[in-house]
Symmetry: C2
Subunit: 732 residues, 2 copies
């Protein structure tokens, strides 16, 4: 009982710790490790952080860090807010009094943690401690992480798992705890989930009433995809304003790894800047083309081969073990593909590093684009092959699949079993649908399971490996000490918890975002094949949102809160997939308009010009629709936009008022108006005529004051009228 | 000799006049006219303008206006500049001292005239005199115009007609005299002219070496069009910064004619605002669709009919008067088309008014879009008909052209002359080229002539009409007075000049811009038919730029200078034409790839799928190219961008410095760093342990100061290493 009590107490208090630094010295000389540790603590102390050290797991120490004085922290917060204002993230400067500024806009947890993290990791020249985990002189600093707030986590998971929809306040909560970047992921997924309800209902009705490959479904689906993408862009702005981060992506943070080629004096600021020539970077960027082609070839031929084998076995081969052999290609794919994928992903990362971007933003965008290309190939190519190669050209290609007879030769009883029928081969129209169902249901469920199970196994494995490493160390010199042996009893359970959390993985939000974007792709590109796609996704995403929350709370270290005002380059991927959807959906509808057998019931009667015309029209109608949707959505108002306008208005008003005092001193033209008919002006004019007497002066001296002008003018009007001997009116 | 002397003096002085107001009362009751005139002069005087009145031509008076006191004007200028700063057009506020502000950035002529024009025409509530020429109570105010600076004009024309290229300073000159809006037109045309050199040279080479319909030419031409369009967008920003007008299009000016439906309290500013519901406007905007369809039908059928008649006469008819009759359709087109065009243009203006836009900008954009649709039909439809109807379907359609025999019946000698050959009819492949040459050479020359001659004739006709009107008045009551009868001799020639200028037309820069954009359309859409197109345009535009200058100087009143930071909605037209060009050029190349006779030498063998595939590929390659060009151009730096960055940097620096004094007072975390190992902190910790003694406090009280943390940490490292009995290094 006492132990449970302590445990739950351990979950409830974080001992006022802001960050934990795990310092691992297993593979370093003890003197070096000790010297480095001293440097570390000194660096932290020099930026005003109080430290405590405790024994860590197997050859590591845990360094606990907290702010020595809250007053000093407030100064950092205030400075960060002023910087935001100067970079245009805030409309108005924070109030000049620090206390006042913090009262009018209290510090939230994520802001506090972000500022502290920057204090720890920023270079010394920018006022930080310059500690860069796992890099350079700090390679023994294994991780810098904040502690989970277990009470909040418990509430969070409980609340989410008992509600259907997340409210804006739920997202605000995430933002306050985990920062805007992660909150943007949850907001996106929630928005996507809400939007999915329509295609789920509509898709279900279509499935009941219109069957597969309905043009009506295709059009409505494309429209929905467009509305969703554009509406999300609209919402991003709104959330950015709501969370006060609109424009943060404009504040570039420099990459540490950036290699400059030369230093020039900036013509604008007069400061020395390190640059890397754009042309040289362009040359390096051009390597993306062979990279993309190479990846497409390698991954494509793997997929095409497996696809060919599968078709050969399932539709040509007629010998023993057919039911087992049919899983051969899937086996090849599931073993080889992840290996190839990770090789290419690493290669993409290397390539992006080689492209040598100056800022983190540019680096991430470039990497995301490459990763998207890789994922596009692995996720969608199999379906593309079925739809646009197997179906229209199946009867031409299948006879050539004999080459794959190699794979079944050991099992076949005679040659005939492995020979494609030279005539009368008919494609299997259900294949495409089965494949889409596999990717949109089975694969999603497997994925979801993997997300929770793989990190668990990884954690187990890693812990085993560490055990092994320490054991080996112990074997050479007696038993390894138990880390918790010297723990003060009242801290024991807390320290045990921290040691556990130190072992956890680091959460990467882009992986989850990528998953959602790829899922959206199936909907936009292929859901016309199987209109129930959205129903499956709706169920999956409800679970996904909760599973991600659990994953962050249990499987991962508490993520460092970062700011963001967009989901970034994935937005372009969404737009691209929507566009491509208008082409594939049209092609699929035409190709399969008669339940998979072409417009005349036979795939061979597909007309090239009709297919291309369908695609051409569909794409242009789509572009027109997107343009209208964009205009319509741009007209929508929203609380965030109103808030932004209000802030801008208030700032402008303040400017006006500040300048009004100056403006009042400056004479207005209307004030001059009153004086014009007064004697002063007449005197001026007369004097001018008398003294200088140029043509110009005399020209303006004819009439003195506006009243005389009126008199003379009236005279002219009168005279003309009199000379005509009649009123002008009669000329009408 | 004396007369000539006076004349040239009249051209040299403007008598210090800022604006001339022509007040015409021919059709108004004399008492009303006199009262209204008094109001007019009083309104002008009330905003600080000095006035002089002189006799005008036939039932009009000329009211000369100048600023009564330059000091008061400076106040207006300063106020206008502060407003610009607040709306973000300027990076920094002007210096607080008016004199200083005007010395650091002198007032230029166009700025002065713009501010004065606004002073005269702005509503009284906004500090203006509220005089709206030709509208409402001021319908007798015929025009408000500034006087030409003849000396400058002479220099301008002389300089331009003797130089091949215009320099940036020449454009600055125009901006200083005529305002940014007109300067943007000249800058655009000049930039277009410079860019034309490449396709002119390249087109000429292609014409020599590759002949017509060369795919190489088509690709390079599409690329050129894209580069030009994107580069111009880039240049617009640069010019906007150079002229200090970047962002002025964001400052909305309200339309006087805007009809509000209800008044609401703005949720942002708390002010009452007049609104017109967007949904209602959308309903009205939907009328554009029937309008566009109607215009396309009416203009299209007129063009198609004339086209049919022409083909019938030139290729079927074989009777007498053929050589004369062949001009019949051209005759019909040239008489009916302008009438229909102007009816539709008026209708478009009415429709745009009905759409009830709040701001001038929105109104102009909407009108320009409609005008572009009309011009698109009248300019390009004839060529579209030839290329995509006559050539591919000619042999099918021509037999049905018998219906047009009606037009030649009176002249034909027998039926046979009017009968289409039922077989063996072959299209005339030279027709398309002839048509393109007509539109790109003949029509351009005719147009250029018209621009100079039509206003001249109009001016003559209008002057005749006024003479007639006054004569009629005179007949009823004696002779009309000669306007110049009472002129003081020294002013006589000046007044005669002003009376002439009062009769001139008002210059509308959008007409000239439209002409350039439509010309660009021929290049992008059809130049593959005749690669010499650009050569013709190059010559034409050199003359055009000079002719426009002459037109503004001689044929038109001096234009009121307006500001602009873009050529506005025409930019979208350019992008659209470039895009469409990628489709038409591909189609033309495919259709006419064998010198007008289809890929196999016969138009009937055109393959639908091949045509569509060509278009599809061409369009997507184009979209990819455009994307790359955009990215590449966005990386370009320019003096304007540097200037903008420098200004922003200086403002930011100033902000930083202003806030630095506050920031200095706020403690930094690093300052706290020094204190952490001092006694104070240790005392704090000890005290805390003694008094409150929570788990948290005790947790942080183990080590006092960072030095103790280091000691304890080193101890742990030492202990682990000692327990292992070996150095960690060996584990590597």
């Amino acid at each position: 009982m006492a132990s449970t009590g302590l445990k739950s107490q351990a979950l409830q208090t974080n001992m006022g710790v802001d960050y934990v630094i795990s310092y691992r010295f297993a593979t370093t000389d003890k003197a070096v490790a000790a010297a480095e540790f001293e440097q570390l603590v000194q660096a932290l102390a020099s930026v005003g952080l109080a430290t405590e050290v405790r024994n860590g797991d197997k050859h590591s120490v845990l360094l606990f860090v907290k702010v020595a004085s809250e007053d000093y922290l407030f100064g950092e917060v205030y400075r960060s807010r002023v910087r935001d204002w100067i970079y245009g993230v805030r409309a108005a400067a924070p109030p000049k009094e620090t206390r006042e500024a913090l009262q009018s806009e209290p510090l939230y947890e994520a802001e506090r943690l972000r500022i502290l993290y920057q204090l720890i990791t920023n270079p010394v020249s920018e006022g930080g401690a310059g500690i860069t985990p796992k890099e350079g002189e700090w390679k023994n600093v294994e991780s810098v992480f904040a502690l989970h707030d277990h009470a909040y986590n418990k509430d969070w998971i409980k609340k989410w798992s008992t509600s259907y929809f997340l409210k804006a306040e739920d997202l605000d909560d995430i933002r306050n705890r985990l920062g805007e970047k992660i909150a943007f992921y949850f907001a996106f997924t929630q928005s996507y989930f809400t939007f999915l309800i329509f295609p789920a209902v509509f898709g279900f009705s279509c499935w009941l009433l219109l069957g597969y490959f309905s043009p009506v479904y295709a059009v409505i689906n494309a429209l929905w995809c467009t509305v969703f993408t554009e509406y999300w862009k609209h919402q991003e702005v709104d959330l950015g304003v709501r969370w006060g981060v609109r424009g943060v992506s404009r504040i570039d943070t420099k990459r540490k790894d950036f290699q400059h080629e030369k230093e020039i004096t900036d013509p604008v600021t007069g400061e020395k800047v390190q640059i890397f020539p754009a042309t040289k970077r362009l040359q390096r960027q051009l390597l993306q083309i062979p990279f993309a082609l190479g990846a497409a070839c390698v991954l494509g031929s793997l997929i095409a081969t497996c696809f060919g084998i599968e078709i050969f076995i399932s539709e040509v081969y007629d010998g023993p073990f057919k039911s087992v052999l049919v899983f051969l290609p899937t086996g090849i794919l599931t073993t080889v593909m992840p290996v190839l994928s990770s090789i290419f992903t690493n290669f993409a990362a290397e390539l992006t590093k080689f492209e040598n971007y100056e800022t983190h933003g540019a680096y991430e965008t470039a990497l995301t684009q490459k990763v998207f290309v890789l994922n596009f190939i692995t996720s969608y190519l199999p379906i593309f092959l079925t739809a646009f190669v197997y179906v229209p050209f199946g009867s031409i290609i299948v006879p050539y699949l004999d080459i794959f007879s190699l794979t079944v030769k050991p099992f076949a009883e005679n040659e005939k079993q492995m020979q494609a029928p030279q005539t009368g081969f008919s494609i299997n129209p259900a294949r495409l649908r089965k494949q889409v169902i596999y990717f949109t249901v089975t694969a999603q469920i497997v994925n979801l399971g993997m997300e929770v199970i793989v990190p668990y196994l990884k954690r187990r494995g890693f812990s085993k490996y560490k055990q092994f490493q320490s054991d080996r160390a112990a074997k050479r010199g007696g038993t390894a000490p138990d880390a918790s042996a010297n723990d003060p009893p009242e801290e024991a359970s807390f320290l045990a918890r921290v040691r556990d959390e130190a072992e956890l993985d680091v959460y990467d939000v882009t992986t989850d975002l990528r998953e959602m974007v790829l899922q959206f792709g199936y909907l936009s590109l292929f859901s016309v094949v199987w209109p129930l796609t959205a129903v499956s996704f709706l169920i999956n995403d409800w679970v996904e949102l909760r599973a991600d929350a659990i994953k962050i709370c249990i499987e991962m270290q508490r993520p460092t809160p970062w700011r963001a005002d967009t989901i970034g380059p994935w937005l372009d991927s969404l737009s691209f997939l929507t566009w491509l959807g208008s082409i594939t959906a049209a092609a699929l509808v035409y190709l399969f308009s008669n339940d998979g057998l072409g417009p005349d019931g036979n795939p061979s009667t597909i007309k090239g010009w009709a297919l291309l015309l369908t695609i051409f029209l569909s794409e242009h109608v789509f572009l027109l629709l997107r343009w209208s949707v964009r205009i319509a959505i741009s007209k929508l108002d929203s609380p965030g936009r109103q808030k932004e306008r209000r802030e801008r208005f208030l700032v402008r008003k303040q400017y006006f008022e500040e300048n009004l005092s100056d403006l009042r001193k400056i004479p207005k033209m209307t004030e001059a108006g009153g004086k014009i008919d007064r004697a002063s002006l007449e005197e001026d004019a007369r004097k001018a005529t008398l003294t200088t007497s140029t043509v110009e002066d005399r020209f303006w001296a004819h009439q003195k004051g506006w009243k005389e002008t009126v008199q003379v003018g009236k005279g002219i009007i009168e005279r003309v009228a009199v000379e005509n001997g009649t009123d002008g009116k009669k000329y009408l």
